[in-house]
Symmetry: C2
Subunit: 158 residues, 2 copies
DNA sequence: ATCGTTATTGCGAATAATTATCAGTGACGT
DNA sequence: ACGTCACTGATAATTATTCGCAATAACGAT
């Protein structure tokens, strides 16, 4: 879990807005948030922080690798705390719920493909889209929104 | 390669704007184009087609599965003719060049992961980012921009 | 602790990409 | 050839995000 000292390490002053935004990302029940989500959460807590600041800070956090930015379908950015190891995402197109997973076979194979192509791999983004069980059966998403399950393949995380 | 009759099949009238946009996607030397790219190409050819129409038509083409929409980093959509089989992309972060590939192992594994998560998969996006051979060695990209190489794993395409 | 420098913030305006509105036009079945 | 209705073009509207700038607050030096 990123801490205050990570801000300094990244050359960022430890200001109140940055600390508050970091805390929201850490404590939110929703793991993937848009800038607007963060902003609204701040407003609900009675904090006085401008939307532009939220955008700025999130971008700084991304540069400092404290958060990861995703561009899911639809184009708008969502941010996720970079606290656990690397993982990919499977998103329900119906209800928008997000599963996380990390599959060693896929990870290895990506490197193999890069080698074949003469590339030195330095990042990737993988998003699977589909309909989750809950939406298919009952039309209601059954996923516990609080704790996202992580599927790790036999070999564990990368 | 999509043809005029594919428009009818998709329930779209074969109008001049649609045919022209389709032709541009087929004949362009650049495989991945933004709506703006298509619009400018039209203007350069002296065609009188509104930007809004380009957006509309591209979205219709996407729905009809004549084109594929990608959301690369940065958020703006790029469109690609859906003429060959499915493939993923490996992008050089240095020179922006795009390789295409299709790896059966990854494809299969994605389906496996979806099953585990209780999802019915219906799409995915996979982008690998790295440095291509040419950029690492000579600082110049050696990839022939016209014809993108396709790496197919042993089993051939999906 | 106080002070000064300089990064940071908040606000509102600006931009970029895309979508909506709507009156006029053209494709297509009859 | 005709009438209907999907389609188009121009423009306004939206959405997401960034910019510009004056006011403010961190943090090191005194």
């Amino acid at each position: 879990m990123p801490s205050n000292s990570d801000l300094k390490k990244a050359g960022l002053k430890t200001t109140l807005p940055r600390l508050k935004i970091l805390r929201i990302l850490e404590n939110s029940s929703v793991r993937h948030m848009t800038a607007e989500d963060v902003y609204k959460t701040l407003l609900d807590s009675g904090e006085e922080i401008g939307l532009a600041t939220v955008y700025r800070v999130l971008t700084q956090f991304e540069t400092a690798r404290l958060v990861i930015r995703h561009n899911f379908e639809g184009g708008r950015s969502v941010f996720e705390l970079n606290d656990e190891g690397h993982h990919d995402h499977i998103v329900c197109s119906e209800c928008g719920e997000v599963f996380e997973f990390c599959d060693r076979t896929i990870e290895e194979r990506q490197r193999w493909v890069s080698d074949q192509a003469g590339f030195v791999l330095d990042g990737h983004s993988l998003y699977l889209y589909g309909a989750c069980e809950g939406m298919r059966k009952s039309g209601k998403c059954s996923i516990n929104k609080r704790k996202l399950p992580t599927i790790l393949s036999k070999a564990g995380r990368d």
